[in-house]
Amino acid sequence: MLLAEQLHHSFGAVKALDGISFSVRPGQTLAIFGPNGAGKTTLLKVLAGLIRPQKGRAHVEGGRRAIGWIGHQAQLYNQLTVRENLRFWASLYDVVPPPELLARLGLEEHADRPVRALSRGLVQRVAIARALVHDPAVLLLDEPFTGLDRTAAETLGRLLAQHADAGGGRATVLVTHNVEEGTGLATDVAFMRAGRFVHFGPRAGRGAQQVSEEYRNAIA
């Protein structure tokens, strides 16, 4: 579903990706943990097609149409309303926003308010709605839990679980340095350091505590 082959990429003298290869099958949720500067965001951008790797290639089945991205930036227009934002982003994927999307995220009463009038938590939820508006098969998440309030974090967790359970070939890749929050959702886990994977494998029932410890040992 998602394939990365021998990815290498440097920014000047800094090697962000140093020979990464892996694949993600439908139904998997891969959580990649790593410290800042490990190259996680670069990896995700290569997967999304935002960066063309200097060596190697990445392939996502269905292309850009099948990808949804949730990162720290909302990718919304402050002067437009929630509904207008969703309609615009949907039009780029040649769809219309599904009617129940607003309800799923608890945004119905705010649908016609401009984004700049919303609280931070609400903006985060609109950002999630934007990512899901075209019903992507692959979700890529870049530090999604950073700065989320309680409600938003729970909503996100719920949505990710729904996405994974939706069947019909869904996959998720999430990168974060927050091992506790990420483990619960994952089916597979990877540790990344200095552009390489130092661990890659199924979670196999390990709890957040255990994975955290292993991570600390691997990265230290």
């Binding site: 920014f11 000047g12 003298a13 800094v14």
Partner: protein, 227 residues
């Protein structure tokens, strides 16, 4: 560094030869009947102007290749060519009026070559300013390449505009070469001058390129140490 030394040698030789051509132009080449002393500037200015423009075209070509090949050497060459082009343009723009004033009575005339050189200078300045404003090296190279290509494509349009401008506003001619059929002595001096300026361009560009490369090495070493 070998390249830098080679560049310095070439520039040194070229500057000596330049002095030689200068002497030849002033003392050993016959005075042109109608324009007199003023015409002598043409031996030095026209080759310099030709190279100021050629440098821009080379920036454009290097930029095109850079966008396809992504080879940083092409970017370094483009930057070097732009700097050298700027210097040549500055020299023409400052010495042109200084030479022209005692002879023509005005500091500035919208002479075709001077005006074209002024445009080139503005394009070069824009190029350098853009390079200076972007910190990420990859982005800087890409953006500079885009601007360089646009600058190169603009040059023919500038030629046309300047030609039209002059046709509508006849003005004293400062840098016009004399009649099409140059006597052999004058032609020889001019060709010598063109050769010297070519050498000067090459020497300067090699030096600038080498310096760029050395600085990049230094920065990479610094980054690796800090990382």
């Amino acid at each position: 560094m070998r390249l830098l030394r080679a560049g310095r040698w070439i520039t040194g030789i070229a500057l000596l030869l330049l002095a030689g051509v200068y002497v030849r132009a002033l003392a050993y080449t016959p005075m042109e009947r109608m324009q007199g002393m003023a015409q002598k500037i043409f031996y030095l200015h026209v080759p310099a102007a030709i190279w100021a423009e050629t440098a821009m075209i080379l920036v454009g070509l290097a930029s095109v290749f850079y966008l396809f090949l992504k080879d940083p050497r092409l970017d370094r060459f483009a930057a070097a060519s732009a700097e050298v082009g700027t210097v040549f343009a500055c020299v023409i723009l400052t010495t042109g009026p200084i030479w022209g004033k005692p002879i023509w009575g005005t500091w500035w005339s919208w002479d075709a070559r001077l005006t074209l050189t002024l445009f080139l200078f503005l394009l070069y300045m824009g190029y350098m300013l853009l390079r200076g404003a972007v910190s990420d090296p990859g982005e800087r190279a890409r953006f500079a390449a885009v601007l360089g290509i646009c600058g190169m494509v603009l040059v023919p349009f500038i030629h046309f505009s300047v030609y039209m401008f002059r046709t509508l506003h006849p003005m004293p001619i400062v840098l016009k070469p004399s009649t099409p059929s140059l006597p052999p002595v004058m032609l020889a001096t001019w060709l010598m001058s063109l050769g010297v300026f070519s050498l000067l361009y090459v020497g300067f560009v090699i030096q600038r390129y080498a310096l760029s490369y050395l600085r990049e090495q230094l920065e990479a070493a610094g980054e690796a140490r800090n990382a």
